[in-house]
Symmetry: C2
Subunit: 334 residues, 2 copies
DNA sequence: GTGAAAGCGCTAACAG
DNA sequence: CTGTTAGCGCTTTCAC
């Protein structure tokens, strides 16, 4: 592990000069440049980011914290982040919070100790403890696909209320009147409550009287979808379609329906939410809300780096979603 | 951003003492301990890993490099890695190589500059350039779900040959005689060739004459599965089942079959390979080879840390796979 | 028990 | 154009 000191000695120059050519700072003769380059190649020099970051008080690194979920919807977000980071000369390091986002505070602390210049937190629910830590330590942070109510942490997401309104409304538009809602966590102010509200509003606007029994709460996952259908069946609740709060949840609903020989979409329509790559990979393909994940990565990273580099204040953004029609929905006549 | 210097001053002790209590090294009075603790809390001290790693020449961090794929089979691997890292007091930082594993060398270099103590590379094909870099820079590395032929880089994986033999043999055991193989990249020595070989050997052992037209090569992904089925249909190739080289590929095959109104498994059996969480989430559920991903994470990280801490030589391991029966296969009579 | 001091590898003035 | 020097925040002898 050669250091600039070794190179300086071998090349017969000072370490300052070595540093200059290594960082392409200019201010040296062509001869010196060539010599230093040659020597550092010969000695197999690799720079030490730790030392550099330490003195620079800048790591040129942004940290990403993401949850562990089966449907890797975070991947396109990461791709987006990487794309702009790369371009703007930043590194990105990623950390998983585990399935239950249990270790989120711990991961935030680690990122802070690594002295990342900024943090992107994907789709995790932050509690008081975490936001307090972020604030107290003055960590530049932007949230993706999540937000914290009553805080001014900037976020990039879609409007859950509108998205759920849109897809519910679509079901209504193709003739459905008895519409289930599967999977929402009603304790969750960020995703659960607004999605429920959007769903409900669409019913009301269509003059449909909302029934409590149409709601099967859950935690957005596969199991929530399965349970929902099981309960509808058990209680013989009469619905012609189910709005699920995630693609994964929709897969669960489909799975339970299949286990009961219910044919989709002929006997039951089902919708997802997320528009992960999965939605188009399953058969039948999912009708779902497509979130612009890649774009979310782009935006969040751009905002963050603008803040880091130029001190710009990050602005929250609501991105456009789109309705992706698949084969799990069918019009209802009569 | 308080430093130990600040704490030292505020507590009226030396920085050496602060360092001692912060690291629980002992050798101080209870009074000093309490005082330093109190002051550092008050000043909201957070340690600077960069500085610490720099002087220690040890980052207590292991780097993980993984590809970006739609079916997040890497997640359970990461979970396994995190579990043992956590326990053994190591941090882990992750980096994605992008879909085509295009940036793998770049990522390896970055990890090296970050001075990680060791590296776990998941499921990526390493070329001469990368292995040379790893060797030259003496980076402790272990591979997961991949390997490099003719090198002594240690790896943790399953035996692709045996696994493919097993699943092909299963199809034979339930009566199939005309068996397609979809998705293998035959240029790929690590996964493509052995899987093909295992498939072929199972046929031979059963006295089935292998037909060239049964093979539809590809690149392990969804599209490869779709194309395979399209080709079988176009050329009217008579098979009763298809062995796919990945779950994702199987999804593609199913998708194309569905588009042609072929009923699975009644008219066509299909198998996957990987046993991702997806396999059980789709309907019908996939018959597939289940790789012990979590265990792979555990083993690789254990080996690596044993090497880092105790200089143990890492040993390659072939882990057991299992056959996971789903609903995409059906026995063939007559 | 505690402190002084010497760096880890590097950058960034400041001189020349 | 190039070198000297003073640190970045921390750990770690070695004295006291």
């Amino acid at each position: 592990m050669a250091t600039i000191k070794d190179i300086a000695k071998a090349a017969g120059v000072s370490i300052a000069t070595v540093s200059r050519v290594i960082n392409d700072l200019g201010g040296y003769s062509e001869v010196t440049y060539q010599k230093v380059k040659a020597v550092s190649k010969e000695l197999n020099y690799t720079k030490n980011s730790l030392a550099r970051s330490l003195v620079r008080k800048r790591s040129q690194t942004i940290g990403v914290i993401m949850p562990t979920v089966p449907t890797s919807f975070s991947n396109p977000i990461i791709d987006g982040i990487e794309e702009v980071a790369e371009q703007l000369n930043f590194d990105v390091i990623i950390s998983h919070t585990g399935s239950a986002s249990k270790y989120i505070l711990q991961k935030i602390i680690r990122m802070n100790e690594f002295k990342v210049d900024g943090l992107i937190i994907i789709s995790s629910q932050l509690s008081q403890v975490e936001t307090a830590y972020l604030e107290k330590n003055d960590i530049k942070t932007i949230l993706v696909s999540t937000m914290v109510p009553d805080s001014d942490l900037p976020y990039i997401k879609v409007d859950d209320y509108s998205a759920m309104y849109a897809i519910t409304n679509y079901l209504i538009s193709i003739g459905h009147r008895r519409i289930g809602l599967a999977g929402p966590n009603l304790q969750d102010k960020v995703a659960g409550q607004p999605r429920f509200a959007g769903y409900k509003k669409a019913l009301i606007d269509a003059g449909i009287k909302f029934q409590d029994e149409w709601i099967q709460t859950g935690v957005f996952d596969f199991t929530s979808g399965r349970k929902a259908v099981r309960n509808y069946l058990k209680d013989a609740i009469d619905i012609s379609c189910i709005c699920c709060v995630s693609d994964e949840c929709a897969l669960g609903a489909i799975s339970e329906a299949a286990a009961n020989n219910i044919i989709i979409p002929k006997e039951l329509s089902i919708t997802g939410y997320d528009g992960t790559s999965l939605a188009k990979m399953v058969s039948p393909t999912l009708t779902t809300i497509k979130q612009p994940f890649f774009q979310m990565g782009i935006q969040s990273c751009s905002e963050l780096i603008a803040c880091i580099n130029d001190g710009k204040v990050m602005k929250s953004q609501l991105l456009n979603f789109s309705l992706e029609l698949g084969q799990t929905t069918k019009e209802k006549r009569g």
